[in-house]
C-alpha cells in the first residue's frame, strides 16, 4: 500500500479535510494533495508526522515476504468485475455444498 493511501485513510478516519490536516502538520493543502495522489512520496519521517497529526500512530514491523496472494490476484485481474463476482458466487455455492455434505455425514455418524 503506497504512502498516499495510508495518509488518506488516516485523514478520513480522523474526519479531517486536506486543509485541516495541512494546518495540523504545518504544511499546505496542495502538499497534502500531492502526497495523497502519489505524485510526491513523503519520507518515512514525514509520513509518520502526518499520521500523528491525524491522532494515529504508524506502526511497522518485519515479516517474511509473502507473495502467495499474487497468483490469485493476477488471475482475477484478467477477468471482468462481473466475471469475478460470478466466480465468487460459484465458489460460495460449492463451499455450501461441501458444508451440507459434511453436516449430513456428521448426523449419520451421530445416529
Amino acid at each position: 500500500m503506497i504512502s498516499g493511501d495510508i495518509i488518506r485513510e488516516a485523514r478520513l478516519r480522523a474526519r479531517l479535510t486536506q486543509r485541516e490536516l495541512a494546518t495540523r502538520a504545518r504544511t499546505s493543502q496542495p502538499a497534502v494533495a500531492r502526497w495523497e495522489s502519489g505524485a510526491v512520496v513523503p519520507s518515512f519521517e514525514r509520513l509518520r508526522e502526518l499520521i500523528r497529526a491525524c491522532g494515529l500512530e504508524l506502526t511497522i514491523g518485519l515479516a517474511t515476504y509473502d507473495d502467495s496472494y499474487d497468483e490469485w490476484i493476477l488471475g482475477a485481474l484478467k477477468k471482468s468485475p462481473a466475471e469475478r463476482l460470478e466466480a465468487a458466487a460459484r465458489a460460495a455455492e460449492a463451499w455450501s455444498g461441501w458444508r451440507d455434505r459434511l453436516e449430513a455425514a456428521r448426523e449419520r455418524a451421530s445416529v
Binding site: Y69, L74, A89
Partner: protein
Amino acid sequence: MNAPPFDPLPLLAVLERHGVDFVVIGAAAAIAQGSPLPTYDLDVTPARDQANIERLVEALRELEAKLRTPTEPVAFPLDAKMLAGGDAWTLATSSGSLDLVFVPAGTTGYDDLRRDALAVDIGAAEPVLVASLRDVIRMKEASNREKDRAQLPALRRTLEIIRDRERGGTMNAGG
C-alpha cells in the same frame, strides 16, 4: 433449510432497475476489483434520503426480502419508515443474503463512499457503484473485527498491484 444460493449479479440488477442509489461495499466490492476473498453475501450502503428508501423498499419486495436469522428467514413489514429507522439490516432474499449498512465503520455513509467509488459494468442497464479498494480497506481497518483484519493483507496486496499497474510497473507473481 436450503437458502437461495448467493447470486450477486441478479441482486444488483434488481437494485439498479429500481433506481436505488447505493454503493457496493465489503468483500464483494473487493472481489469486483480483483481481491482473492471469499464471500457469501452482498453488502451495500444505500443513500438515506426518503425517495431512495422508497425505491429500495420496492426492490426488496421484488427480491422477497426477509430478516435473516440463525434458523429460518422471518418475514417483516417492509416499509420505508421502518427501513430508515435502522442502521443495518441483514436480509435473506431470492438471490441470497443481502446486508444493508447505512453507515459502515470509518465512514459517514453513502455520500462519503460515492466520492471515490468506481462505476462497474455488471451487465445491467447501468453500471453500479462499487466502493474503492482503499475505502474497503478503510472500513475493514475501522471495524477492527478479527475476520476483517484477516482480510487486510490480501486487500493491501491487491491495491499495491493495481497501483503498480497504474504507474506502468512490472510487478508480477514473483513480486
